[in-house]
């Protein structure tokens, strides 16, 4: 469980030039930047403090001060500049840039391309990633992004995919992202008094409510205790169900078919979706859900 001396060395070599450019940084911030515990950063600093150049008199040691949890380096010895990037750092940055570019239709795409060229000229690495995506950035996306940056409240008309109805809502947009080829907006929804995820292509209209401040009480969970566990048997042919709903799957067992447990989820939506997979998804529990699925199927059949 303890980290290798090599990983620690690598971090220490990166710490010093970073400190040099971020004089007076706090230990907690440093720990966060380097993704380790505060104790680990403390231990690292104590260790670095004892390193230096042959002779190892105070003049030749790396000189730094840490007082009240703030760190300053006054003499880094020969470690003034950061190390060259390694292959995985370089490739993950390149693929990140490609992904960012695939999201933009504005002038940024060109800027990113130039930046990539610059990086590749200084450090040449084979890039094993290819990103192929058409940026779809309709006006509404730019508007939502602006609203997030400025913490503006919005009034939206939303077509609910789970309820087959449209509704007016006042929301405070928090986060916008793409997942599984859809664009989603996370927002605080005044009407439901909770965080909600909206599919952006189902927002019919959105306008900024000038001067309106929506205060949201965070960390309200809509999960109710004692919700009966939903358990499904999903055949391999219905694997798309799993791919599209990873977000609500709390456990997944692989076998001749998948045994799936779901977190609390809109029941109406679930019933409708299961019927659409035509017997490829079997409801193990709760039995009410299984019954409801059959009733729906009968109702549909009665139409014809």
């Amino acid at each position: 469980m303890s980290e290798s001396a090599l990983d620690r060395t690598a971090r220490a070599l990166d710490l010093i030039p970073y400190l040099l450019e971020h004089q007076g940084i706090s230990i907690p911030e440093l720990a966060q930047v380097f993704g380790v515990s505060e104790k680990q950063i403390n231990d690292d600093l104590i260790l670095i403090h004892m390193c230096g150049l042959p002779g190892y008199t105070p003049l030749e040691l790396i000189e730094m001060y840490y007082e009240d949890g703030y760190v300053t380096v006054s003499d880094p010895q020969s470690l003034k500049r950061p190390r060259r990037m390694n292959r995985s750092e370089m490739t993950s940055l390149l693929v990140s840039l490609d992904l960012l570019k695939s999201l933009r239709t504005d002038g940024i795409a060109k800027e990113i391309e130039d930046l990539k060229t610059k990086l590749l000229n200084s450090l040449s690495f084979e890039n094993p990633y290819v990103v192929i995506a058409d940026a779809k950035s309709p006006e509404i996306v730019e508007m939502l992004e602006r609203a997030i940056t400025r913490a503006s409240a919005l009034r939206i008309v939303y077509l609910s995919g789970t309820k087959d109805e449209s509704s007016d809502r006042e929301i405070l947009p928090l986060e916008i992202y793409q997942a599984n080829n859809h664009t989603y907006l996370n927002a605080w929804c005044q009407r439901s008094g909770a965080d909600r995820t909206f599919r952006v292509d189902r927002i019919q209209s959105a306008e900024i409510i000038e001067g309106k401040v929506i205060n949201f009480k965070s960390s309200i969970t809509s999960l109710e205790d004692g919700d009966p566990a939903t358990e499904l048997l999903v055949s391999k042919r219905a694997r798309q169900f799993i791919e599209e709903n990873r977000g609500v799957i709390s456990s997944l067992e692989d076998g001749t078919s998948f045994r799936v447990k779901l977190q609390s989820i809109d029941e109406e939506w679930l019933i409708r979706t299961i019927v659409g997979f035509g017997g490829e998804i079997e409801v193990l529990s709760p039995s009410d859900l299984a019954r409801e699925v059959k009733i729906r199927a009968q109702e549909i059949r009665a139409l014809y």
Partner: protein
């Protein structure tokens, strides 16, 4: 133990970086702090340390110290090869990189993207954040395989993995490229058993992959172009169905359909669709509020699906 070794590796790096001329092994073992024990033990230690630093990507140059003592090589780390050199990176570009690297949240590429960014942030470029865009990607599961696959591609090593498919499960592949396409991650490569290029969805990989210990087992053809091998979804034929939608319901369908004939309880719409399976699911999703009128084959497919639930 780990402390002592870390300290020694740092001291060695500092010393080899600071020196202008090559340092003799004897000088290193005497002067750099941390080399202890018998002469033999010290030398073994030094050999291991050199390998370790090289494995971190640090280049240690070996050179002749003196023409008269050519049997004794010297060592140093050339500053030029050690240091990150991106002289003209602007604040704006650094901000772009920081935003891009934050896509990885908790996934496996996060640590390397973050350490890359830290290095760039140590270059002394003033940080600015003058972008208003917030759109990002969110990835779930399959990313834990990316790191291993990347290494296999770089070293041209074959991989073995199990794939969730109706036919062949065990796959033996020469990995070419990782492709992010249509919102999903794929791996494209030469399927060794089938001797054909194949595309695999990472979310369908079952369990771990094994990477062959051998390197340079294959070559990626220089004219290889990923987009030649992606299924062309957009050429799928668009068909039209006629459906009845119950009054005031099926709003998502109404949005994209064309009203043919308004009625009392139901309105008749024309809807375009590409993929039958997806379309049928969408219709069924609306329960008894949407009925397919045409084509008849689609209607019977729907009844088959619904029948599947009832058996």
């Amino acid at each position: 133990m780990s402390d002592a070794k870390t300290e020694r590796l740092i001291n060695l790096t500092l010393a080899l970086l600071a020196t202008k001329r090559y340092l003799k092994k004897a000088e290193i073992l005497t002067n750099v702090a941390g080399y202890e024990g018998s002469q033999e033990a010290k030398e073994r230690m030094f050999e291991r340390d050199k390998d370790d630093l090289r494995s971190l990507g640090i280049e240690i140059e070996v050179g002749d110290l003196d023409v008269f003592f050519e049997d004794e090589p010297g060592y140093r780390i050339p500053q030029k090869s050690y240091e990150l050199d991106l002289p003209d990176l602007t604040s704006r570009e650094l901000a772009l990189l920081s935003i891009a690297s934050s896509f990885w949240n908790d996934s496996v590429l996060a640590p390397s993207a973050q350490s890359g960014i830290r290095k760039l942030q140590s270059l002394g470029i003033p940080a600015t954040m003058d972008f208003e865009f917030r759109m990002k990607y969110r990835f779930d599961n399959p990313t834990q395989l990316l790191d291993q696959i990347t290494k296999a591609i770089i070293s041209r090593s074959r991989i073995n993995f199990s794939y969730d498919s109706t036919s062949l499960k065990a796959r033996h592949l020469e990995p070419y490229r990782i492709v992010f396409w249509n919102g999903y991650w794929y791996l494209i490569g030469m399927d060794v058993d089938r001797q054909a290029l194949r595309l695999f969805k990472l979310s369908r990989f079952l369990g771990d992959i094994t990477v062959s210990k051998k390197k340079k087992e294959f070559e990626i053809p220089s004219n290889f172009n990923v987009s030649d091998y992606l299924p062309k979804e957009d050429v799928e034929i668009i068909r039209t169905a006629k459906v009845n939608i119950r009054k005031d319901l099926g709003i998502l369908l109404r949005e994209r359909g064309k009203l043919i004939k308004p009625g009392e309880d139901f309105d008749t719409y024309e809807l375009n669709y590409e993929n039958e399976t997806v379309f049928l699911r969408e219709i069924i999703w609306h329960g008894a509020n949407v009925k397919i009128l045409e084509p008849v084959e689609l209607q019977s497919q729907l009844l088959n699906l619904v029948g599947g639930v009832l058996t």
